[in-house]
């Protein structure tokens, strides 16, 4: 395998794997803390059982997230040493800050998971809050590093050498705010729909008849998070699209598959992406000009403005983008339908439960596709305008063996994880030796 392809394949697989666990690691603590908080308030057993069940899932997911994140921190150096030599001294700060946030997460996850019997109920609930906060904060810090890769800032180049480094300016490169919001909200979207889907699936299959209250409570809590997060995600996504149109024209032109710079630019959905245009796509006339500038006559930059060897792989970016938007549309519709049903105080009908169950995998698909958009859309650069991906790769041998080896590890981890989580979800309540009377007093 070609060195760059092997390194990208390994990094891509690692990120695609980790991002799921990372998102659940950010979102699940919120759900667990909500459930436990409701138990403290209402003393209803269902909420307690729900918090215990979810926290078991959280234990497994967080551990896999921690170790797969470790793979990434190693791979930065093992696969992209040239990039790290360049970038470490510019964009290292958010990684260091993320290190502290991860510390707080790991400490309080230990306290939370093992503290059910050791801490008072209130103290135990409080020990969950730092996990919620530091999870979101660590996602935010890491995303600022990705924002920098899209628009490197906080330094000058003098005869090819990096000078005048401003770590804070690097961390706060132009896209940081929108990217951080988009990534963090994605975590809540995925966790909300993911947890809701598990509950909906259990209700549909009637596998949890003895714990119906618990599953219904889980569905409601998870859907509240999902129904708040998904509209926000649409708003932020819309802001990002306009940001990209102005600041990352190559990415924007690729995701919209706009080959020619033009006024009255259309939106093209789907189609077959060729070398200089899209065939058979669904065309919305003037759509893109309206989207970008609220003016059908506005000019939108196309790929013809981008030198040929600086263009991203258009088809991959375009299809990923359509997948993201399409998936997110389904998520939004289901969230609206659920909200209407909930406001009318009606239990979700069967067709809605099916929709919610479907939204679990679809939300993951949306997140992965969004990740592909930003990563493929930045190519051929690893740090846009500064360093090409092909120049950043290691010279160390054996990358193809590593790729296959780690892929195998991911398959084994994913399969075991899946199997264990199913047991956590389907095993009847119990197994905890906690005396509920003691905990509730």
């Amino acid at each position: 395998m070609d060195q760059v392809i092997a390194a990208r394949a390994q990094m891509g697989t690692s990120l695609a794997f980790h991002i799921v666990f990372a998102a659940l690691g950010v979102g699940l603590p919120l759900l667990v803390v909500m459930a436990e908080g409701l138990w403290l308030r209402t003393k209803k057993r269902a909420y307690y059982d729900l918090a215990r069940t979810w926290s078991k899932g959280m234990a497994i997911l967080f551990a896999v997230g921690a170790v797969s994140g470790t793979i990434l921190s190693f791979e930065l150096g093992l696969l992209w040493p040239v990039f790290m030599r360049y970038a470490g001294g510019i964009i290292g700060l958010p990684f260091s800050l993320e290190g502290f946030a991860f510390f707080i997460e790991a400490i309080f996850i230990g306290l939370y998971l093992y503290g059910w019997d050791r801490l008072s109920p209130r103290a135990h609930w409080l020990s969950g809050l730092p996990i919620v906060i530091s999870g979101a904060v660590s996602a935010a810090f890491v995303t600022t590093a990705n924002a920098w890769m899209n628009m490197p800032a906080g330094f000058r180049l003098e005869n090819g050498k990096v000078v005048d480094v401003h770590p804070i300016a690097a961390m706060l490169s132009p896209p940081w705010a929108v990217e951080v919001l988009h990534t963090t909200i994605a975590a809540y979207v995925v966790t909300g729909f993911g947890a809701a889907a598990v509950c909906a699936f259990a209700l549909l299959r009637k596998t949890a008849e003895d714990r119906r209250d618990q599953v219904r409570a889980g569905l409601t809590i998870a859907m509240i998070v999902a129904a708040i997060a998904i509209p926000l995600q649409w708003i932020v996504g819309d802001v990002i699209a306009r940001f990209d149109a102005d600041n990352e024209p190559a990415k924007f032109a690729s995701l919209e598959a706009l080959f020619k710079t033009q006024r009255n630019a259309p939106i093209t959905v789907g189609g077959i992406v060729g070398n200089d245009g899209v065939r058979y796509g669904i065309v919305i006339p003037n759509g893109l000009s309206l989207l970008v500038a609220f003016d059908p006559n506005a000019e939108v930059k196309g790929l013809d403005r981008i030198p040929e060897n600086d263009r991203p792989p258009v088809a991959a970016v375009h299809y990923s983008f359509d997948t993201m938007v399409g998936s997110a549309s389904l998520l939004l519709l289901v969230a609206i339908a659920w909200t209407i049903a909930a406001l009318r105080k009606r239990a979700a009908p069967r067709w809605l439960l099916i929709g919610i169950a479907l939204c679990g995998p679809v939300s993951v698909l949306a997140m992965e596709a969004g990740w592909f958009v930003t990563e493929f859309g930045r190519q051929p650069w690893i740090a846009r305008g500064l360093l090409r991906t092909s120049d950043a790769v290691t010279i160390a041998p054996g990358l193809d063996v590593q790729f296959y080896g780690f892929s195998l590890v991911y398959v084994v981890l994913a399969a075991t994880c899946w199997w264990l989580l199913r047991r956590v979800g389907t095993k009847p309540r119990g197994g905890e030796r906690t005396d509920i009377a003691r905990s509730a007093s």
């Binding site: 707080i104 400490i107 230990g110 770590p167 054996g398 264990l420």
Partner: protein, 330 residues
Amino acid sequence: MTPVLGAALVVLAAIALYTVFGGADFGGGVWDLLASGPRRDAQRDAISNAIGPVWESNHVWLIFAIVTLFTCFPPAFADVATNLNAPLTLALVGIVLRGAAFVFRNHASDAVTLARSWTLVFGASSIVAPFFLGDAAGALATGRYAWTSPFALSVGLFAVTLCAQVAAVFLLRETNDSALREDFRRRAIRATLAVWIAGIIPALLARGAEPSFYAALTGPAARIAIAAALLLGVVVMLLVARHRDGLARVAVGAEVLAVLGGWFGAQFPALVPGRWTLESAASSPAMLEAFLIAAACGAVVLIPSLVLLFAVFKRGAGAGTSESATGQLH
């Protein structure tokens, strides 16, 4: 103190804390693999209970050392990651499987075959990870990156025995069962002997094969540190034999720090001997200062949190914990 030195101290502190606490967790895995006798399952339960609440935060010291290295000393980090790609990848596989296997086997409790398989993975990967981390450290210390050299491999072996020793000593205070405690006491004494033997091998090998590193080891700073390590090894042995388990914990921690002191003392101020010094690899002063300020702010949040964690779980011998595998691994 210059910012470069400050950043170097942060790296050293992170490596030291990872070696003691992360090392103890790996050592726990070693004893899990070697669990035997009539109290085999009880040994494993004690190990699970001891590691469970803390291994994830202990693991973060490694992440922290890595990000500090690439933030503050990026060219040296890139050089090491390129030349020690293979042993670091192998260590990484061990680290990943160890963490995953530990959680999997605890949650697979009543699925016997699965729990057994992951228990085996947990033990084996707890040897693989420190072995290759030690090997990489040995290869780095000589400046030659020769990770398959007998010297580097012997450092790997030494690292594994060190982890096992720390774990056995730490485990003495993780159980109320006196028979179980005596199991760990025997192991602590054997492991201390193993550390001495495994520690002599790299020294002998360095004398023949790594003359420049051997010369550095006989420099004043390294010499004091090594003498202290040897002395502390004897102290650990005596304290363990006399049932002074609390003091033995402190002594074994100090012994590990002395071993690391010998290594750091030998190669200071080189980051990679013959290739990178702290100065030549350092990021810009602006970056180092920003990092040190961030680290100081982070420490304000981190230290009380760590104290809380250890106060809740490590005060007094191992009472039962709710997520543990107690009585479930049969």
